[in-house]
Symmetry: C2
Subunit: 216 residues, 2 copies
């Protein structure tokens, strides 16, 4: 089973590493990081490079596709090399997945038409005009399409998908090995829980958070 | 404020990326990934390379030091280039931190003598013979030393430390931006919660999990 994790300039590292950390431990899995051009790809902060070992053109039939989000997503919504590749590999994939604003790329490729899907809470509404049905859930399964909410939701997605693929006991063993027994120091991880003025502040800065461009 | 994240062969990606994702968003932070030799460093699965942009010798006074864990840690317990560097930067660091078995490296460098500390649940007992006092907590602060439990605990550590450095409101805003509202699909993330036979299985495989070497 081959798992392809797609990298692109200004992706969010944890979007990719969260699901990678569990999915790469599936029995018999071969995980490959891919990008339009192989080599180091910088994350959204600019402070980290992660290596794409193979170009998109060399990975043509992955069983699982993982598309992370991040500010760089906004520059790729009409980028044929990526969208054409997504459509091509989706034709034979067993699972096509995303984390955070990665779902906007799947939708831009036309893969989520009429499907239930989620995204980062600041971006979820964009799914509708791209043809999907936005759902306010942490991880959304619709057929073979699995979309996760913002950044950290990719960890939940990876474990949930691991359970679907290899069974609950395998996924529980991976969860225990990764000591995923979360204790956030604050209860501020969703707009329903965070203090209202912090939610408002992020909404006001949403264009910067999602695209790293100043608000117009 | 400079944050140095240490990479080494066969580290666990999420150990490094978990705290990076929050700490790199501290106001005025410069985050730098360092290793003995700059360039791509492969993670424990072999499937991912992360780039160390600078050699240890060029980063001499970071304010925050982050040491991830992973199977490669076991090969470095007497590795002078790394341990000497840890001792040197600790002399001026504001915070010296670890995730998972990274605490064993801090202890091997003599930095946790008599201090309360934690590690991956399968490795925590090793802290005692290295001079530290093992504590069964998710994130342990002892003076400027901050140690996190296994892998995913680094996310909790990064946010807790962000709160200490930049205040609760900043850390809450980062938590909300990263949508860290965890919903693990199973309640199996600690040995107290996972099914007993899964805990026993991991204990039996602990040598492989911690060092990727077969049990003797």
């Amino acid at each position: 089973m081959q798992i392809a994790v797609v990298l692109y300039d200004r992706f969010t590292a944890l979007d990719a590493v969260g699901p990678y950390e569990s999915l790469s431990r599936l029995p018999g899995a071969e995980t490959v990081f891919v990008a339009e051009r192989p080599g180091p790809v910088r994350t959204d902060t600019g402070a980290l490079g992660m290596v794409a070992d193979r170009p998109l053109t060399e990975v043509t039939r992955p069983d699982v596709v993982v598309v992370p989000g991040g500010p760089g997503q906004s520059a790729l919504m009409e980028h044929r090399p990526l969208l054409d590749w997504l459509r091509a590999v989706d034709a034979t994939s067993v699972w096509t997945t995303s984390v955070c604003t990665g779902s906007l790329l799947l939708a831009a490729a036309g893969l989520l038409d009429g499907r239930r899907a989620t995204s980062h809470w600041l971006a979820r509404d964009q799914l509708r005009r791209l043809g999907a049905e936005p759902v306010e859930e942490r991880v959304v399964f619709d057929g073979k399409y699995v979309t996760a909410a913002g950044v950290c939701a990719g960890i939940d997605m990876g474990l949930a998908l691991s359970g679907r693929i290899a069974g609950d006991e395998h996924a529980q063993a991976v969860q225990l090995a990764l000591e995923y027994d979360p204790r956030p120091p604050y209860d501020a991880g969703s707009p329903h829980k965070a203090p209202a003025h912090i939610v408002d502040m992020l909404r006001a800065r949403s264009r910067f958070i999602l695209t790293q461009e100043p608000s117009s």
